[in-house]
């Protein structure tokens, strides 16, 4: 029952994606998907009101919608959770391909945004007022929502990476919290040697993690210029990451438990997974999902390649975008501006989200907040610091959703068979290049 439907469903989604990508390329650069009108006079649009359909899985949006409707009673926002990540993109692609039931606003992760933007499924918000928001958001997320000259979404949250660790486990085994990747590998060995049940982290092959790690290491495997794409996993940054992580995999220092599974939550709770290198949105997940370890976790800056450095990368995070098919783009824009750059931001921070807006990231209240779960640590100080250090110039593929879906068939094999990560990355590159060319992109490696 489970295997077949997924495959069929993916088939539908891919067929949809294929059509979209092809039409996109056929159309050339005649015009961008959205309206190129005047900046929205949000006041009057909100006054006139209307109905909006929003597809998002971010839990803090519920409160935002409630507040928004209270403030603008003429607007009726229907918030639907149609699935998380990939499920949501499949749904969105199906709706767009079917031409009916397309939401006005959709939550799209940064890595998936180029795919929808280049297929002209999303509206260019530049003309609606987004171009005036330059400087409102931190550079990483702000760059992520731009594609060519267009702005295809407003950043909702961000995931500058940090080292989340279980202090009790580190102290118990007398292992210092690593600040560089060399120390990290050493710490991994020490922890696992002290207690064979304990692993410094878990990784069974995760595309988001791998690309973010390469990003921090200074790798730029993807270069995208319109429909000209280059994929190259042999650059220095990618190699640096692959070499270091290969040791972790070879010496079995990473737990083979898959991220977000119930074993993973269990491991985070009982100390057998001692740390995570993950995005700044993690505190809320720990608080709700890993109650058992309350008070034991702490946050430290991401380990560095050069001692004393401060390079980081983004991991996850998503934007709210207005669809090209929406008939109420102005109203939809007014809503996402409220949610992501207006009053909604504070509401979402109160709900546990990590913002992408500069003002909030710099506010005393935000930085000074003490987290009981983290033993009273002012976690946001570390995380906001990380947001400053995000390495510039990273790009995702315009077909990253597909590429990530084949990650486990290629790089993932390095975790279960005797091929190396570098070989796996080469396979991934090859498969991605082939797919991109099939889709009508000009891809070289």
């Amino acid at each position: 029952m489970t295997a077949l439907p997924r495959t069929v469903l993916r088939g539908v989604a891919l067929a949809g994606a294929a059509t979209l990508a092809l039409t996109a390329c056929g159309g050339g650069s005649a015009d961008d998907g959205g309206t190129a009108g005047e900046p929205v006079d949000t006041g009057s649009v909100l006054e006139d009101g209307g109905e909006l359909l929003v597809w998002a899985w971010e839990p803090t949006l519920e409160q935002v919608v409630e507040d928004f409707e209270a403030e603008y009673p003429n607007v009726d926002v229907e918030l639907a959770n149609v699935g998380t990540g990939n499920d949501a993109y499949t749904a969105l692609q199906n709706a767009i391909a079917a031409g009916s039931g397309v939401p006005d606003v959709a939550q799209v992760e940064y890595y998936a945004l180029p795919q929808f933007a280049i297929a002209e499924s999303l509206a260019d918000l530049g003309g609606l007022g987004a171009s005036e928001l330059d400087g409102t958001f931190t550079p990483g997320p702000w760059a992520s929502v731009q594609q060519g000259d267009g702005i295809y979404g407003l950043p909702m949250d961000s995931g500058p990476m940090a080292l989340f660790y279980n202090e009790e486990v580190f102290t118990q085994h007398g292992v210092a919290v690593p600040t560089t990747w060399d120390e990290y590998v050493e710490a991994g060995r020490a922890l696992h040697a002290a207690d064979p049940e304990v692993y410094i982290t878990s990784d069974s092959g995760d595309a988001g993690f791998t690309t973010s790690m390469i990003w921090q290491a200074g790798g730029k495997p993807y270069t995208v210029d319109g429909t000209d794409v280059t994929i190259d996993f042999t650059d220095e940054g990618s190699a640096r990451f692959a070499e270091m992580w290969q040791q972790m995999v070879d010496e079995e220092l990473v737990s083979p438990v898959a991220g977000w599974s119930d074993e993973w939550y269990q491991g985070l709770g009982n100390g057998t997974i001692a740390s995570l290198i993950i995005g700044a949105w993690m505190p809320a997940n720990l608080e709700s999902g890993v109650e058992a370890a309350a008070g034991k976790w702490r946050v430290a800056p991401m380990p560095q390649w050069e001692a004393g450095g401060s390079d980081t990368a983004e991991n996850g995070g998503s934007a709210l975008s207005v669809t090209a098919a929406s008939e109420q783009q102005e109203l939809a824009y007014a809503f996402i501006e409220y949610a992501n750059a207006g009053d909604g931001v504070q509401t979402r921070i109160d709900g546990g989200a990590f913002p992408a807006t500069v003002a909030e990231l710099e506010s005393e209240e935000f930085l000074g907040k003490e987290f009981p779960y983290f033993g009273g640590q002012k976690v946001n100080e570390v995380l906001a610091q990380s947001a400053q250090g995000v390495v510039e110039g990273w790009q995702y593929l315009p077909f990253q959703v597909y590429a990530n879906s084949i990650f486990n068939d290629t790089v993932g094999q390095a975790y279960v068979s005797d091929i190396t990560l570098a070989e796996g990355l080469a396979d991934w590159q090859e498969a991605s290049v082939a797919y991109g060319n099939e889709q009508g992109f000009t891809v070289s490696d």
């Binding site: 077949l4 899985w57 639907a80 959770n81 119930d262 995005g279 999902g289 058992a292 546990g352």
Partner: protein, 318 residues
């Protein structure tokens, strides 16, 4: 079920007489089987195999029951097949029913709607169609037979995607109709009713009714329907289980969580744990799953004797 399908004003002379000729046909195989088991031949191997199968099918249920009594944190911190920590069943139940403004109750209502409209409708169509095919001759009957047999062989899953594309063109996706309409068709139910009606209703009885001047509808409702009751319950159970557990069809048809059936809703809850910022609610997923299977268990226990006699229908030629 029998009570609701049997007509209330059955003429005292018609129904009992009508029922009698049919009964022995169906009762015989059951009685024969019963006689066989009164002289049991013990087989260690058979007992052992049955025992293993029994344990195999009951362990997941026991696991579900035990773990529905645990809190989120004791779920991870304790042995799976025994109780541990506070007995949290009632708070889990309360939370399940109230979480997210009681969306679980809404999903339960949706599932009931799909079962009543979909499985009920499918049964009604199968009964009418099966009766017609069994008791009337008309040109093209062989063709219909071939189509029905062919349709039994095609899994519904294979048709879900084409159905989705068709429905989306008709603007029906993301509405309850997109789940109910495909559920109305049950080729297997039709085939079962067909063979059952052919066995259970003597043609002579219908001829007698016609001679007495009863219209076809009257004959159907007053005479045939009561005779078909065991078969109807069987088909109803089949379609009910299929609709209750239906996952793939609603998965691709529905986007609005307000129209989700329980299967999709529980999956959505489970997926919350895999989201940045999502709330992990494994304890509610487990309690919800327990609540989801209870009505099915009840239906089986209450209707099991019909289920057995219905399954045997048509298996023995007399």
């Amino acid at each position: 079920m029998t009570a609701s399908t049997a007509p209330t004003g059955v003429p005292a002379d018609a129904a009992p007489v009508a029922a009698r000729p049919g009964r022995p046909h169906r009762a015989t195989p059951v009685r024969r089987a019963a006689r066989g088991s009164s002289r049991p031949r013990r087989s260690v191997l058979l007992t052992l195999t049955t025992g293993i199968v029994l344990v195999y099918s009951l362990v997941p249920l026991a696991w579900l029951l035990i773990n529905a009594t645990k809190t989120q944190s004791s779920l991870f911190g304790s042995f799976g097949l025994w109780f541990s920590g506070d007995f949290a069943l009632f708070s889990n139940l309360a939370q399940t029913l109230t979480y997210d403004d009681g969306i679980f109750v809404r999903w339960l209502g949706n599932t009931l709607l799909y079962v009543v409209a979909g499985a009920g409708g499918a049964t009604a169509l199968a009964v009418i169609g099966g009766y017609g095919l069994a008791k009337f001759s008309f040109p093209g009957k062989r063709g219909v037979f071939a189509v029905v047999i062919g349709a039994v062989a095609v899994p519904g899953t294979a048709l879900a995607v084409p159905t989705f594309l068709m429905f989306s063109r008709m603007g029906l996706t993301n509405t309850p109709w997109s789940v109910i309409i495909p559920s109305l068709i049950s080729p297997f139910g039709l085939y079962l009713m067909w063979t059952f009606a052919a066995e259970a209703i003597p043609t002579e009885l219908l001829e007698a009714a016609r001679m007495d001047g009863a219209s076809e509808w009257r004959t159907f409702f007053r005479i045939s329907l009561p005779l078909l009751a065991p078969g109807i319950v069987t088909v109803l159970l089949f379609t009910m289980v299929a609709t209750w557990n239906n996952y793939f069809l609603p998965l691709i048809m529905l986007r609005d969580p307000d129209w989700y059936p329980l299967t999709l809703g529980l999956n959505a809850w489970n997926a919350q744990a895999t989201t940045a910022g999502g709330e992990a609610i494994f304890n509610l997923v487990i309690t919800g799953a327990l609540l989801t299977i209870l009505p099915l268990i009840a239906a089986f226990l209450l209707l099991q004797r019909y289920w057995q006699s219905g399954l045997a229908a048509g298996s023995v030629k007399e």
